[in-house]
Symmetry: C2
Subunit: 186 residues, 2 copies
Amino acid sequence: MLRELLKYILDFSENDLDVIVSCFKPRAVQKGTILLHEHEVCREFYFVNNGCLRTYFIDRKGAEKTRLILHDMNIGTALTSFISQKPSFEFVDALEHTELMYITHSDFYKLVEEMPSFAVFYRKILEMAYTFQNRRIESLVALDAHERYRQLLADNPILIQKVSNKILASYLDVTQETLSRLKGKR
Amino acid sequence: MLRELLKYILDFSENDLDVIVSCFKPRAVQKGTILLHEHEVCREFYFVNNGCLRTYFIDRKGAEKTRLILHDMNIGTALTSFISQKPSFEFVDALEHTELMYITHSDFYKLVEEMPSFAVFYRKILEMAYTFQNRRIESLVALDAHERYRQLLADNPILIQKVSNKILASYLDVTQETLSRLKGKR
């Protein structure tokens, strides 16, 4: 599964794929497990085989703000801390029982240094992460609640079925009442 | 100047620096010049020799939201559109008379493909852009107006002198009245 995703993102050789996949280790985590706490340094990069992870932070009013939701066949992590190796602003937790693969920061950057195709892969990941992040900001600033909900329905409908209203509302930055109304309306 | 900045970011060889600098072309733009309109594809990456550029977009209430301000010795562009080569959500304009150097998208990506050190440089740029962007989001969500102002004063005090209150308020996402009060208070 990881192999297929890697190949989907970049046309790796079979040999490179063998090396990369051998650097990932499997782990199963229960619903509610916190994989990374705020103020910890993020040292792992994740591939979600099945289940659901998310990254979130706590705003100054004490509310959870969900930034990223990773479900089946997605990759990601608390990337700012993973890049800087400084304490994270974000948490990473499991929204359900999740089977994942992870690679450590040192193995990841070793591959970046030693395998030219992985350096290109990392560049693509960074481009995708930057673009995704900017699209998030734009939609939070430029779209109203109804438009944001319709965009999510078009881009990632599985999230709407998979994730609780509480989390989804914090992802869309709307109240749960507004989300319920939007779900009823469509 | 460009040469010094490049060398500051990455330890390029003199030969690589020659090639890179030869790909940048000079341009002087008057205050108020719009270098990129919303819905245009961004095909240039900028180095500001002296002066000031910014990127901004218009929110759904019609207000300008300033995302990035580039002043002397900074590099950047409307990166999402530059990466994707799709129409930009953002504008790029000159806040004052600006002497800049620019490299075209095709020359930039040719260097990324052909010069290993430039590929590393681009990776660093993407990491920095992603981290900067996330820090912006965090500070907009987690800090109040006073804390955001103090953070800017610590990170980039020159902006506070250089940029008008109107632009600075849109950068900090506060009203001009709040900004004036914060400036008086410090």
